[in-house]
Symmetry: C2
Subunit: 103 residues, 2 copies
DNA sequence: CCTTATCGTAAGCCATAACTTACCGTAAGT
DNA sequence: ACTTACGGTAAGTTATGGCTTACGATAAGG
Protein backbone atom coordinates (compact mmCIF):
# COMPACT_ATOMS: atom_id res chain seq x y z
CA UNK A 1 0.00 0.00 0.00
CA UNK A 2 2.67 2.48 1.05
CA UNK A 3 5.23 1.11 -1.35
CA UNK A 4 6.51 4.61 -2.13
CA UNK A 5 7.78 5.24 1.39
CA UNK A 6 9.34 1.78 1.53
CA UNK A 7 11.17 2.21 -1.78
CA UNK A 8 12.59 5.65 -0.96
CA UNK A 9 13.52 4.37 2.50
CA UNK A 10 15.68 1.66 0.96
CA UNK A 11 17.14 4.03 -1.60
CA UNK A 12 19.66 5.52 0.81
CA UNK A 13 22.79 3.32 1.08
CA UNK A 14 23.45 3.63 4.80
CA UNK A 15 19.76 3.24 5.60
CA UNK A 16 19.57 0.14 3.43
CA UNK A 17 22.68 -1.22 5.10
CA UNK A 18 21.11 -0.51 8.47
CA UNK A 19 18.02 -2.40 7.42
CA UNK A 20 20.19 -5.35 6.40
CA UNK A 21 21.90 -5.38 9.77
CA UNK A 22 18.53 -5.48 11.50
CA UNK A 23 17.45 -8.26 9.18
CA UNK A 24 20.48 -10.31 10.21
CA UNK A 25 19.81 -9.74 13.88
CA UNK A 26 17.36 -7.61 15.88
CA UNK A 27 19.30 -5.06 17.86
CA UNK A 28 19.13 -1.84 19.88
CA UNK A 29 20.09 1.63 18.68
CA UNK A 30 23.49 2.12 20.32
CA UNK A 31 24.65 -1.32 19.24
CA UNK A 32 23.59 -0.62 15.68
CA UNK A 33 25.13 2.83 15.68
CA UNK A 34 28.61 1.62 16.55
CA UNK A 35 28.59 -0.52 13.42
CA UNK A 36 28.34 2.60 11.26
CA UNK A 37 30.61 5.59 10.65
CA UNK A 38 27.80 8.03 11.44
CA UNK A 39 26.52 9.36 14.76
CA UNK A 40 23.84 7.76 16.90
CA UNK A 41 21.22 10.46 16.24
CA UNK A 42 21.70 9.87 12.53
CA UNK A 43 20.86 6.22 13.11
CA UNK A 44 17.79 7.23 15.10
CA UNK A 45 16.59 9.36 12.22
CA UNK A 46 17.13 6.53 9.76
CA UNK A 47 15.24 4.17 12.04
CA UNK A 48 12.33 6.59 12.16
CA UNK A 49 12.14 6.59 8.36
CA UNK A 50 12.36 2.80 8.22
CA UNK A 51 9.64 2.54 10.83
CA UNK A 52 7.30 4.89 9.00
CA UNK A 53 7.85 2.79 5.90
CA UNK A 54 6.86 -0.28 7.93
CA UNK A 55 10.19 -1.89 7.19
CA UNK A 56 11.11 -2.21 10.88
CA UNK A 57 9.20 -2.25 14.17
CA UNK A 58 10.25 -1.63 17.75
CA UNK A 59 10.07 -3.73 20.85
CA UNK A 60 10.72 -1.86 24.08
CA UNK A 61 12.93 -3.57 26.65
CA UNK A 62 13.50 -1.28 29.60
CA UNK A 63 15.45 1.71 28.42
CA UNK A 64 16.47 -0.07 25.24
CA UNK A 65 14.54 -0.32 22.04
CA UNK A 66 15.03 -3.46 20.04
CA UNK A 67 14.46 -2.91 16.34
CA UNK A 68 13.43 -5.85 14.22
CA UNK A 69 12.19 -6.40 10.70
CA UNK A 70 8.61 -5.64 9.72
CA UNK A 71 7.56 -7.58 6.66
CA UNK A 72 4.71 -5.25 5.73
CA UNK A 73 7.00 -2.80 3.94
CA UNK A 74 8.80 -5.53 2.03
CA UNK A 75 5.51 -7.04 0.98
CA UNK A 76 4.30 -3.65 -0.22
CA UNK A 77 7.27 -3.21 -2.56
CA UNK A 78 7.06 -6.77 -3.77
CA UNK A 79 3.39 -6.56 -4.73
CA UNK A 80 4.04 -3.23 -6.43
CA UNK A 81 6.73 -4.85 -8.57
CA UNK A 82 4.62 -7.91 -9.24
CA UNK A 83 1.96 -5.64 -10.65
CA UNK A 84 4.37 -4.77 -13.42
CA UNK A 85 4.80 -8.18 -14.91
CA UNK A 86 1.10 -8.44 -15.65
CA UNK A 87 0.77 -4.83 -16.73
CA UNK A 88 3.90 -4.93 -18.85
CA UNK A 89 2.89 -8.09 -20.64
CA UNK A 90 -0.65 -6.82 -21.07
CA UNK A 91 0.56 -3.53 -22.45
CA UNK A 92 2.98 -5.27 -24.75
CA UNK A 93 0.24 -7.50 -26.10
CA UNK A 94 -1.99 -4.46 -26.56
CA UNK A 95 0.80 -2.72 -28.42
CA UNK A 96 1.24 -5.64 -30.84
CA UNK A 97 -2.51 -5.62 -31.34
CA UNK A 98 -2.46 -1.90 -32.03
CA UNK A 99 0.38 -2.14 -34.54
CA UNK A 100 -1.50 -4.87 -36.37
CA UNK A 101 -4.58 -2.71 -36.60
CA UNK A 102 -2.49 0.19 -37.90
CA UNK A 103 -0.94 -2.38 -40.31
CA UNK B 1 22.91 -7.57 -9.34
CA UNK B 2 22.58 -3.79 -9.58
CA UNK B 3 19.57 -3.64 -7.32
CA UNK B 4 20.85 -0.47 -5.64
CA UNK B 5 20.61 1.63 -8.80
CA UNK B 6 17.20 0.19 -9.59
CA UNK B 7 15.82 0.96 -6.14
CA UNK B 8 17.07 4.54 -6.02
CA UNK B 9 15.86 5.03 -9.59
CA UNK B 10 12.31 4.15 -8.56
CA UNK B 11 12.53 6.25 -5.40
CA UNK B 12 11.83 9.53 -7.20
CA UNK B 13 8.07 10.04 -7.75
CA UNK B 14 8.17 11.55 -11.23
CA UNK B 15 10.75 9.03 -12.37
CA UNK B 16 8.64 6.19 -11.03
CA UNK B 17 5.60 7.64 -12.75
CA UNK B 18 7.60 7.89 -15.95
CA UNK B 19 8.56 4.25 -15.61
CA UNK B 20 4.90 3.34 -15.17
CA UNK B 21 3.95 5.22 -18.33
CA UNK B 22 6.60 3.32 -20.28
CA UNK B 23 5.33 0.08 -18.78
CA UNK B 24 1.83 0.87 -20.06
CA UNK B 25 3.09 1.66 -23.52
CA UNK B 26 6.56 2.03 -25.12
CA UNK B 27 6.98 5.59 -26.29
CA UNK B 28 9.46 8.21 -27.47
CA UNK B 29 10.89 11.04 -25.39
CA UNK B 30 8.87 14.01 -26.63
CA UNK B 31 5.62 12.08 -26.35
CA UNK B 32 6.47 11.07 -22.81
CA UNK B 33 7.59 14.57 -21.85
CA UNK B 34 4.29 16.19 -22.75
CA UNK B 35 2.54 13.95 -20.24
CA UNK B 36 4.55 15.53 -17.41
CA UNK B 37 4.76 19.03 -15.95
CA UNK B 38 8.55 19.07 -16.30
CA UNK B 39 10.75 19.94 -19.27
CA UNK B 40 11.92 17.49 -21.92
CA UNK B 41 15.58 17.54 -20.80
CA UNK B 42 14.43 16.60 -17.31
CA UNK B 43 12.72 13.58 -18.83
CA UNK B 44 15.89 12.72 -20.72
CA UNK B 45 17.87 12.79 -17.50
CA UNK B 46 15.32 10.57 -15.79
CA UNK B 47 15.45 8.15 -18.71
CA UNK B 48 19.22 8.00 -18.44
CA UNK B 49 18.96 7.00 -14.80
CA UNK B 50 16.28 4.40 -15.56
CA UNK B 51 18.41 3.02 -18.37
CA UNK B 52 21.53 2.73 -16.21
CA UNK B 53 19.40 0.90 -13.67
CA UNK B 54 18.31 -1.48 -16.45
CA UNK B 55 14.71 -0.60 -15.86
CA UNK B 56 14.20 0.62 -19.43
CA UNK B 57 15.95 0.07 -22.75
CA UNK B 58 15.98 2.04 -26.00
CA UNK B 59 15.07 1.15 -29.52
CA UNK B 60 16.21 3.66 -32.11
CA UNK B 61 13.73 4.53 -34.86
CA UNK B 62 15.19 7.23 -37.10
CA UNK B 63 15.58 10.36 -35.06
CA UNK B 64 13.28 9.04 -32.39
CA UNK B 65 14.15 6.82 -29.47
CA UNK B 66 11.50 4.42 -28.31
CA UNK B 67 11.84 3.59 -24.64
CA UNK B 68 10.46 0.31 -23.37
CA UNK B 69 10.63 -1.72 -20.19
CA UNK B 70 13.71 -3.76 -19.33
CA UNK B 71 12.87 -6.52 -16.89
CA UNK B 72 16.45 -6.94 -15.68
CA UNK B 73 16.18 -4.10 -13.19
CA UNK B 74 12.84 -5.29 -11.84
CA UNK B 75 14.20 -8.79 -11.45
CA UNK B 76 17.22 -7.42 -9.59
CA UNK B 77 15.06 -5.68 -6.99
CA UNK B 78 12.77 -8.63 -6.64
CA UNK B 79 15.56 -11.12 -5.97
CA UNK B 80 17.12 -8.67 -3.51
CA UNK B 81 13.85 -8.53 -1.59
CA UNK B 82 13.34 -12.28 -1.80
CA UNK B 83 16.74 -12.72 -0.19
CA UNK B 84 15.27 -11.13 2.91
CA UNK B 85 12.60 -13.62 3.65
CA UNK B 86 15.12 -16.42 3.94
CA UNK B 87 17.68 -14.29 5.74
CA UNK B 88 15.14 -12.77 8.09
CA UNK B 89 13.68 -16.11 9.04
CA UNK B 90 17.13 -17.62 9.37
CA UNK B 91 18.32 -14.77 11.53
CA UNK B 92 15.20 -14.97 13.66
CA UNK B 93 15.70 -18.69 14.18
CA UNK B 94 19.34 -18.04 15.02
CA UNK B 95 18.27 -15.41 17.51
CA UNK B 96 15.89 -17.78 19.26
CA UNK B 97 18.65 -20.30 19.35
CA UNK B 98 21.04 -17.77 20.84
CA UNK B 99 18.60 -16.66 23.51
CA UNK B 100 18.10 -20.26 24.48
CA UNK B 101 21.82 -20.77 24.85
CA UNK B 102 22.08 -17.60 26.94
CA UNK B 103 19.10 -18.96 28.87
C1' DC C 1 22.34 21.53 -48.82
C1' DC C 2 19.23 23.76 -45.80
C1' DT C 3 15.72 23.31 -42.60
C1' DT C 4 13.20 20.95 -39.16
C1' DA C 5 12.38 17.48 -35.70
C1' DT C 6 14.19 14.85 -32.06
C1' DC C 7 17.03 14.17 -28.28
C1' DG C 8 21.23 14.11 -25.38
C1' DT C 9 24.54 16.96 -22.56
C1' DA C 10 26.52 20.98 -19.90
C1' DA C 11 26.16 24.53 -16.48
C1' DG C 12 23.91 26.59 -12.89
C1' DC C 13 20.12 27.08 -9.42
C1' DC C 14 17.45 25.56 -5.66
C1' DA C 15 14.96 22.40 -2.68
C1' DT C 16 15.40 18.41 -0.13
C1' DA C 17 17.53 15.23 2.82
C1' DA C 18 21.45 13.36 5.39
C1' DC C 19 24.55 14.62 8.90
C1' DT C 20 26.37 17.11 13.07
C1' DT C 21 26.13 19.03 17.94
C1' DA C 22 23.28 20.13 21.69
C1' DC C 23 19.55 19.15 24.53
C1' DC C 24 15.80 16.66 26.98
C1' DG C 25 13.07 12.76 28.76
C1' DT C 26 12.79 8.20 30.77
C1' DA C 27 14.13 3.88 32.88
C1' DA C 28 17.22 1.32 35.92
C1' DG C 29 20.80 0.84 39.48
C1' DT C 30 22.95 2.29 43.80
C1' DA D 1 17.16 11.07 45.30
C1' DC D 2 21.24 10.91 42.37
C1' DT D 3 23.59 9.07 38.71
C1' DT D 4 24.12 6.63 34.55
C1' DA D 5 22.65 4.49 30.27
C1' DC D 6 19.79 4.83 26.40
C1' DG D 7 17.60 7.08 22.77
C1' DG D 8 14.43 10.54 20.56
C1' DT D 9 14.11 15.49 18.94
C1' DA D 10 15.54 20.37 17.53
C1' DA D 11 18.36 23.44 15.06
C1' DG D 12 21.76 24.35 11.86
C1' DT D 13 25.03 22.99 8.11
C1' DT D 14 26.31 20.71 3.96
C1' DA D 15 25.87 17.73 0.17
C1' DT D 16 23.03 15.50 -3.06
C1' DG D 17 19.84 15.45 -6.73
C1' DG D 18 16.11 17.23 -9.63
C1' DC D 19 14.99 21.13 -12.44
C1' DT D 20 15.76 24.89 -15.92
C1' DT D 21 17.85 27.24 -19.92
C1' DA D 22 21.20 26.99 -23.48
C1' DC D 23 23.69 24.46 -26.72
C1' DG D 24 25.19 20.69 -29.89
C1' DA D 25 24.61 16.48 -32.66
C1' DT D 26 22.14 13.52 -35.81
C1' DA D 27 18.59 11.94 -38.96
C1' DA D 28 14.81 12.86 -42.20
C1' DG D 29 12.47 15.80 -45.73
C1' DG D 30 12.06 19.33 -49.14
Amino acid sequence: MAYDKAISALADPTRRSLFEKIAERPNNVASLAQQFPVSRPAISQHLKVLQEAQLVKVQIAGTRRIYEIDHVGLEAIKSYLDGFWNDALGAFAAEIHKQNREH
